[in-house]
């Protein structure tokens, strides 16, 4: 069975930048947000890489990327993302900051998925990040699935393995660093990815050029987001307080890393 894989992935300010929340007349935002370099949300990026890998391994599959963000910024980010994997972009022109709530965002994403021409719901896998670099509630993807009527949902997924009978096996993270193994009879299903196991692919200009043939026209036709529901009211915004202690080492075992982190937390 081949798949129609729709990846939901917003753009976020490059986490390596200096991010400063400010309160403006229209509510909170990030200082100079429009001028901050942006990247595909790292959680969603894992979902995209897994989708591309699945599509490559299962003949006849296809990938769409549904992305919510300011159109101009989306265009800029796509110059990099488009080099990573083949996909068709479904852009939604709207805010990319952290200050939209999952209800509105999930509504916009689900509505955009509904409009994808030729999408076969019997082959549909909706991928996204289990979490998000900006919307950390872990709720958006679940609501996207509910709005689309997809009842088979898996969150914190590290692996999806198709089986010969059309079903697939899924590993979901559970406490204790272990996985829960599930078998899903088949699409439609929604998968909120953790980190998966794939490295970020190298940029491939050929893939980028091929993607751009559909991305640029899609961006020109991008619709404005309709973020449903009452916007949340923010009383104040601050960055998490950080306590930093840096040590650059390589080739440590996971046990040793865990031991050192625990020792640091305990103040040893």
């Amino acid at each position: 069975m081949s798949y129609h894989i729709v990846v939901c992935g917003g753009i976020v300010p490059d986490p390596l930048q200096t991010l400063e929340p400010v309160m403006g007349p229209a509510g909170p935002s990030l200082k100079n947000e429009s001028m901050l370099p942006a990247v595909l949300d790292p959680w969603a990026a894992h979902a995209l890489f897994e989708a591309a890998n699945l599509a490559r391994n299962v003949a006849g599959s296809k990938v769409w990327l549904v992305s919510l963000g300011p159109k101009a910024k989306l265009q800029q980010v796509m110059m990099t993302v488009a080099q990573k994997a083949p996909f068709e972009l479904v852009p939604i022109d709207g805010p990319a900051g952290a200050f939209t709530d999952p209800v509105g965002v999930s509504g916009a994403l689900a509505a955009a998925i509904e409009t994808i021409a030729g999408l076969d719901r019997q082959r549909l896998l909706v991928f996204g990040g289990w979490e998000s670099a900006t919307r950390g509630a872990g709720a958006t993807m679940q609501m996207v699935g509910e709005r689309l009527g997809i009842v088979d949902q898996f969150q914190g997924v590290d692996s999806l393995s198709p089986r010969d009978d059309g079903s697939f096996e899924i590993l979901e993270r559970i406490e204790g660093g272990r996985h829960q193994v599930s078998v899903c009879a088949g699409p439609p299903a929604l998968v909120g990815w953790a980190t998966g196991s794939l490295a970020e692919p190298r940029n491939n200009p050929q893939v980028g050029m091929a993607n751009m043939r559909t991305i640029m026209p899609a961006l020109q036709k991008a619709r404005a987001a309709n973020l449903q529901g009452s916007p949340p009211q923010f009383l104040s915004v601050t960055l998490p307080r950080q306590q930093r202690s840096t040590k650059v080492v390589k080739d440590l075992s996971t046990d040793e890393i865990a031991r050192q982190i625990a020792a640091w937390i305990n103040g040893d």
């Binding site: 490059d14 390596l16 930048q17 200096t18 100079n32 001028m35 901050l36 370099p37 101009a72 265009q75 800029q76 110059m79 990099t80 080099q83 490295a199 970020e200 692919p201 190298r202 940029n203 491939n204 200009p205 050929q206 980028g208 050029m209 751009m212 640029m216 930093r244 840096t246 040590k247 650059v248």
Partner: protein, 567 residues
Amino acid sequence: MSDRPVLDIDIVCVGFGPAMGGFLTTLSRSGLSPNVICYERADDIAFGVSGAVTRARGIRASFPDLDPSEIPMATRVAHEKVLYLLDPAGASRRSTGLRLADRAIGAVRLARHSAVELPYTPPFLRKDDGLLFSIGQFNQWVGSQLIGSGAVQIWPGTPVSGPLIEGDRVAGVELPDMDVRAALTVVGDGPVGAVGRRLDERFGLPPGHHPREWAVGAKMVIDLPERVDLEPGTVFHSFGYPEPEIFGFFYVHPERVASVGIFVPSWFRCPVRTSYRYLQHYIQHPYLWRYLEGGTLRSWGAKSLAESGRRGEPYLAGDGWARIGEGSGSTNVLTGSGVDEAWTTGTQLAEGVVELMKDGRPFTRQNLEETYVRRRRASWVEAEGRIAERARDGFHRGVIAGLAGMALAGMTKGRFALGGEPKPMPPIAEYYRGRIPADEVRRIQRECAAKGTGAHDALMERAGWPEIACDGKLLMSLQDALLVGGKVQAAPGYPDHVRFTDSAACEDCDARTCVEICSGQAITPGTGAVPAFDREKCVYCGACLWNCPAGAICFEAGAGGLHSAEN
């Protein structure tokens, strides 16, 4: 015949910086619609490094209504001062002449906060009515307009391996996985760019030209403490500290942010010339520290600067190719200005290209010389570049001679200057003669190598430089700065872009300046004769390339590097 995939376009561009910004901005307004693609090595178009204070003549010509408030961190130059910094640490290597001058300054109580504010800023240094900005934010501002226009494609995260050379013609560029063929290849990949260097190797340099003078520019972007009320647009240029050969700058951006940095030049004949350590001493100079103490590091970066200026100018055009920007010798070493000059060379090439396209003429060497090079030769970039050509030669004879030579060249419009020729770097033991016994130098080197580190910190402290009292906010180890302020990232899956090509030369090398100069501590002593390289720490400053006396370092284009839009 290669079986690599091929993309055919009209114009392929290498490197997105100020020069390419000028080129693409001008071209995109021409009304023509050639198929243009620009490939940028860094992961974003905003990840350039330069502390830019500029007269902005060329930039303003392109944007007559430019409002600096549209660009974060940009403002107009408000005040400029030139400072002579005394040596409060007592560790700087000053000549007898400078020591006498310092004593005289002390005797007449001329100094305030261990610095003398020069009463006069020479006209050639002044940036009256100029702009002060972050090159990263400026590139972002220009690039986002270009991408939004749809007239050109700019692909970040795409290192270009080299030019496609066919006979005496350049037919495009090689990417890691494909070839891009184009009628015109525009090279603006900076002073250490792989494509520009390959062109130099293939076509040589014009007679008498040589890129022999370099510098590492290292800077910090700092949130100033709330007590500081320096006016945005305040500019300090400095010399004298941490070493007499090291120039420095302090620029105040809007919203209490400062760019503070130094230039470590190739004529500073110290084999342990780590720019980061010197920058830490620089910001703690009492004149600057009264503003910076309590500040917070936002960002940090380093780059090589082509300090030969016009005298390092390569051939500017050939059949199917043209060069613009810093790698084309546009930097003015007398005025200390490069961004505006680079931008202007880009606009000049675009005007020439548009002229040729409208006339239906091909991009031959002759046609590009008649259009682009002719414009450049007739411009202020050329006129001022000629004045600056010999301005810094005196520094090869010493700092006082160098400063006198600069003043002489500046005041006489380049008619007179003091000459001087580069000298080889002394062995470390010789450099520290009189301060550290030779056998102790060797012991320190051995001990540091065994720990896998450079020797600069240990040697500098043994020579009298105070330890850096890290506060975790502004003063921190380079390893911390790489994560907190340097923001270095390297995507997996790429080969090392720095390779050591002659192990015998490494075996014979005493100084290992490549290790000491490395801005990101990406090059370390290694376990054998050949140093080790960690691409995850490389900030692409390229200093290893020109600091290897044997020329045994291969520095190629690669992915990753700095992730800061504020440098």
